[in-house]
Symmetry: C2
Subunit: 298 residues, 2 copies
C-alpha cells in the first residue's frame, strides 16, 4: 500500500516515520521544498514534493494541514487522486471537516489522533507519538465500509486506541473536555485581572498558588489555537459553554441562599465524578462494526 501525507509537520511527519517503519511506502507533500527535504532526510517519507502530482499513485492519503487550510488543500489534491484512493484527515474537530470533504470525495473518513507535543514541525516528529493515545474515526451513514476498515487497520498499526463515533459525538465530547476548559480557564484569568480594586488585584497576583496555576493553565495557552477551537467547533463549544453556565448559575444561587449542605453535596459529587475522566483508561473493546484487521486488504 502506498500512503500519501499532505502536510509534513509533527503529525504528518510522525505518521510517516511510523508507517515507513512498518514497510508502507510513504509519499509526502509540503508547501515548502525545505520541509520536503527535511522529511526525506529524517526518514519520514520515501519521497516528497511541493506538487500534489506525487500522490497520483497513493492508495490512502492523510490530510494533515492546519484546519483552516483544508479547503484550499482539497482543491489542489483531488484532481490528482486515483478514483479508489481513500482520504482521511487528522483535524481536531470533525463535523465541519466531514461536511466540507465528504460531498467532494465520498471515499473519505474523518479521523482525529489525540496526540501532540508542545513542539511543532517536522523536526518534532518522532516514533511513538500515537502509541496508547486515542485515535478517533468518525464514519457516517454514507462512508464506504472498506474505507473504515482500511484506515482502522493503519490506525491500529500505530499502537493507538481506536474509537469510532459520529462526527457530532466527537465534537461534543472534545468540546466538553478539551475546548470548554480553555474558555473556563481563560474567564478565570480575565475575571481576576479585571478586579476593580488595584490593591486586591496586586494581592491576588502575590498570593496565587498551585490551585490558580493549574486551573488557569490552558486559559493562558496559545490564543490562535483557542480561536480555532471556537471557530471550527462553534456549535458544540457553544452547547458546552451554555451547559457550564447553567452549573455555574446553580452554584451562585446555592451560595446566595447559603445552602451549605447542598454546596458540599455538589462538591462531593464532582470529587466522585472526576476519577472517571482522569484515571488511566483501559483500551476500548473493539467496536462491533469493526472487523479484525485482515492484513493487506488494499
Amino acid at each position: 500500500m502506498i500512503v500519501g501525507i499532505v502536510g509534513l509537520g509533527l503529525i504528518g511527519g510522525s505518521l510517516g516515520l511510523e508507517l515507513r517503519s512498518q514497510g508502507y511506502r510513504v509519499l509526502g507533500v509540503s508547501r515548502q521544498a525545505a520541509t520536503c527535504e527535511r522529511a526525506m532526510a529524517r526518514g519520514a517519507v520515501d519521497g516528497a514534493a511541493v506538487d500534489y502530482g506525487i500522490l497520483a499513485s497513493a492508495d490512502l492519503v492523510f490530510l494533515c494541514p492546519p484546519i483552516g487550510a483544508i479547503p484550499a488543500t482539497l482543491t489542489q489534491l483531488l484532481p490528482h487522486l486515483q478514483p479508489q484512493a481513500i482520504l482521511t484527515d487528522v483535524g481536531s474537530v470533525k463535523a465541519s471537516i466531514v461536511e466540507a470533504i465528504a460531498p467532494h470525495w465520498p471515499r473519505f473518513i474523518g479521523g482525529h489522533p489525540m496526540a501532540g507535543t508542545a513542539d511543532q514541525g517536522i523536526e518534532a516528529a518522532h516514533l511513538g507519538l500515537f502509541r496508547d493515545a486515542p485515535y478517533i474515526l468518525t464514519p457516517t451513514a454514507t462512508t464506504p465500509p472498506d474505507c473504515v476498515e482500511a484506515v482502522a487497520e493503519v490506525v491500529q498499526s500505530l499502537g493507538s486506541h481506536l474509537y469510532t463515533c459520529s462526527p457530532t459525538e466527537h465534537d461534543q465530547a472534545v468540546a466538553a473536555i478539551s475546548h470548554l476548559p480553555v474558555f473556563v480557564s481563560a474567564a478565570l484569568i480575565a475575571s481576576c485581572d479585571q478586579e476593580p480594586n488595584p490593591k486586591v488585584r496586586e494581592l491576588a497576583q502575590q498570593f496565587a498558588s498551585s490551585g490558580f496555576r493549574d486551573t488557569s493553565r490552558v486559559g493562558g495557552g496559545n490564543p490562535e489555537l483557542g480561536r480555532m477551537m471556537a471557530q471550527y467547533n462553534a456549535t458544540a463549544l457553544g452547547r458546552s459553554l451554555r451547559a457550564y453556565r447553567d452549573r455555574l448559575d446553580h452554584l451562585i444561587t446555592q451560595l446566595e441562599q447559603q445552602n451549605w449542605d447542598h454546596l458540599e453535596a455538589f462538591l462531593t459529587a464532582t470529587a466522585a465524578a472526576r476519577p472517571a475522566y482522569v484515571a488511566p483508561h483501559p483500551p476500548p473493546s473493539p467496536p462491533t462494526d469493526q472487523p479484525s484487521p485482515t492484513g493487506g486488504s488494499l
Copy 2:
C-alpha cells in the same frame, strides 16, 4: 516571650517547632490529651494541656483550630488570658473572623499563613513550612500598633513573606485566586458529567487529557474544605463568582456572534496576564506601617 498555641495540628505544631527552635517558650492546648503528648514528644511545645489555664502566662496566643471551632474556642480561652496578651489566628478567611473576635478581645490581629500540605495533624508538622510562603496580617483601624508589631516580628522570624492588608482585601484576593478556582473547576466537572447523551459522556471520559486534568483538579478536591470556603467567605466569593459569570457571558456572546478576532484578542490578553500570577514573586517590600523588628519588645 511565652507563646501559646491553641490547636496542635499541622499549622499549630509547625509554629511550635519553629518558635521553640528560636528560643521562644511555647505552650499548647489541644482537645485531645494524646495530641498534647505527641506535640511534646515531637518537640513542638514545652508544655501542653487540654485545659486552657496553661495559657494564663502567655504573651501571644496563636488560634489554630478549624475555622468553625473558633467561637467555642474563644469562649473557653478568653477568661484565662492576661489582659495584655495578644491574640492572632491562622484562618484562611479574615473578615468574618476579625468581626467575631475583635469586639471580644481588642488586642487581636487576624493572620493567614498561606502554607499547607496534603497531610494534616501533629505528625505532619515540620520545620520550614512557612519559609518563603506569604503570611498575611489584617490589622484594622482599631488594632493596637504594638500588636501588629509583635506579631509581624514573630512572622518574619518564620522566614515568611509578610503582607498587610484589610480583612476585606484579604478575603477578596483569596476568593479570586483560591476559592473561585474551586467552584469554576467543580462546575466544569459537573457540566461534563451531566452531559445528556451517554455516548458523548463516555467518550469525554475516555478522551480527557492533561487540559481537563489540570482544570478540574481543585474542583475534585476536599468537599468539606470547599464548603468552608463558601460558608466563611461567602461575600467575597459571591462577588468573584458574579464577576466570573460576567466574563463567561461575554465569551458566550462573542462565540454566538462569531467574533473570532475578539475571542483571539481575549485569549491573547489572558495569556499575557497569567504570568503575573504564576511567576515567582519577589518578597514584598516592607510595609510602610511596619517598623523594623526591634527584638524582644514584649
